[in-house]
Amino acid sequence: MNIRGAEAVMRCLTEEGVTTIFGYPGGAIMPVYDALYDFKEQINHILVRHEQGAIHAAQGFARTSGKVGVCLATSGPGATNLITGLADAMIDSTPVVCITGQVASHLLGTDAFQETDVIGISMPVTKYNIQVTRAEDIAPAMAKAFYIAATGRPGPVLVDITKDAQFGMVDFTYEKCHSIRSYIAKPKLDHKGIEAAVDLLSTAQKPYLLVGQGVILSEAQDALVKFAEKSGIPVALTLLGLGAFPADHPLYVGYLGMHGNYAPNILTNECDVIVAVGMRFDDRVTGDVSRYAKQAKVIHIDIDPAELNKIVKADVAINADAREALEELTKSIPERKYAQWLQQFRDLEQIELNEVVNDVINPPDNELKMAEVVDLLSKKTDGQAIVVTDVGQHQMIASRYYKYKGYRNNITSGGLGTMGFALPAAIGAKLGNPEKTVVAIIGDGGFQMTIQELGTILQAEIDVKILILNNNFLGMVRQWQQLFFDRRYSFTEIVNPNFTAIAKAYSVDASKIEQRLELDEALDQMLNSKGAYLLEVVVQREENVFPMVATGASVSEIRLN
């Protein structure tokens, strides 16, 4: 079959089972868009309003579907607009393939119109990238891209295709990539490591499971439940790990990190053996590393060998797929229960309930608090909705008070902390799992960073519920200014537009509430609406998120107020 390179791109996508892509056309990608015109039946292309929206949508799609997210952009500014999303996907291990158009190969390096060195620019924020200058190289490059993006520790891959390669003719054949000699997709399970871990655990009095997104990525949720139940070890989750273990499980002890729960942070410095699975000891989890779990032996399981011994020295480092390792551990671990140890978590949890949680879920004063909104949403959706969050106070509140019970239903920008992530990611999240209700919880600041994607929601008729928690502040920065910068509110107060009017201009139904009395009905209306809906909830202006592990503090110094 002798076809143009541009059509080869389409055929590569269908060969890889891609049915949804996100993109924005432009000069250097026009041949591919022309080919797409003939593939409209097979490939649902979502026209975004900005390339950053395309990649965040692709990320959301990947995170809810477990498939590779795909986006298309043109050269120059189209490609550079992808960079934030690439960095986000890189640090949060999200499988994404970006296809960018490039000026014709004879123009490379000439400062041609819309030429940019996207390979150079994207190198630090991609797992792999490649420039293709000949039509016959497109298929192998695409096969490699999908393989690399999806396997091992997943990540973003960028394929930059020159315009002459898109126009060039090729006898198309497609061979999926199954291995690359310089790349280990799945390390061999090290049985010595497993034995050493079992040994350590056999004498443990206060073992503790710290679980991250690796468990979700390797689809190890069931394996984790089995391991936890047999071993009796309490389970705490990282921000991206939320959803990896059911929030209503008796062994679940909470959420780790700077604004996490009280007990799991404090008891990190009291446990005797840590089993860290698919997590990377991010500084938001560890606080001051020099005072982090020094008393504990550490078993660290991760598919990325570079994560082992990177931040926390592991007594037993196991370079493995999380599911394989957990299944293997479950076989050899004795059945145990740690009632007293678990009770320590429950006792501290009670303190957090009394001193923080009860006050924000059932506030004594009139103003609405973010936590009560999220709490009610969690109850109304039974923890089963896909919750997409942006970055800031609302994100921490959502992570604290939404009781994730579903599968792949926590979508947030963790490592990079990308404001503006949620709205486009929610679009992708819905397309990645159309059966589920998708609620994007967004602050008033972050919403305006990618507000243009309301246009995508309008045109593609995406059913996402947008819940704006509006405090008319860039709240997290304001909180830090209050606590650590002497209340000098430097440029964090924000004058907002009429959000509901904007939504309505995009034909998105919308309402705004300011009173507690209206909350229940407003959430019902949002959840029961047909199609997209925006609910703006005006919340207390200067609410702080607690507990909090301040910068430089140890996890055991977590503050309740």
Partner: protein, 175 residues
């Protein structure tokens, strides 16, 4: 404590991999002392020798980040004691400076070689360790060195395991 490490990296022959490797240093605010690259004993596999002054902890992390790159086959680090290393230097001096007799003795004493002689200038080559190359430079410079250039370090580790053995291990991993 900072010491000198010799990092050996084996990569596929592809555009951009050098950049991917150097980015790892830049991002950590590490200065590369020297870097050389060429094809190794296996066709199509490129070998980089990178010299870095840093701590053991940091070099371990850097090497695992290098190895994480898709097109890197293997990366190692060694201290100076664990490798045999050399550099090559070229010196350009005036031909008339050679006729004084002293220069000839210097070249003999240093086991340097004369590569080329022109009416006006001559090129001298010396292979050795950095101090030896500098020493020769200092002695020649008494009569004026017109140009001086030094390669980066090349190093071979003393342990015997061959790259092929590692490649076989890698292949085995692709069950």
């Amino acid at each position: 404590m900072e010491t000198t490490f010799n990092i050996s990296v084996f990569t596929e022959n592809s555009i951009g991999i050098l950049n991917r490797i150097t980015i790892i240093f830049t991002r950590r605010h590490l200065n590369i002392e020297s870097i050389t690259a060429s094809e190794c004993e296996i066709k199509g596999v490129y070998r980089y020798t990178i010299v870095l002054n840093t701590t053991l902890d940091q070099v371990k992390k850097v090497v695992s980040q290098i190895e994480k790159q898709v097109e890197v086959l293997k990366a190692f680090y060694h201290t100076d004691e664990q490798v045999v290393y050399q550099e090559i230097a070229l010196y350009k001096i005036r031909t008339d400076a050679f006729t004084n007799g002293t220069t000839e003795k210097i070249i003999r004493d240093h086991h340097a070689r004369i590569l080329s002689v022109d009416k006006d200038f001559m090129i001298i080559e010396k292979t050795g360790q950095p101090e030896e190359l500098t020493h020769l430079f200092d002695e020649l410079n008494v009569f004026g060195v017109l140009e001086f250039v030094r390669s980066g370090r090349v190093a071979i580790s003393k342990p015997m395991k061959t790259l092929e053995a590692y490649l076989e291990e890698l292949a085995e991993n692709h069950r």
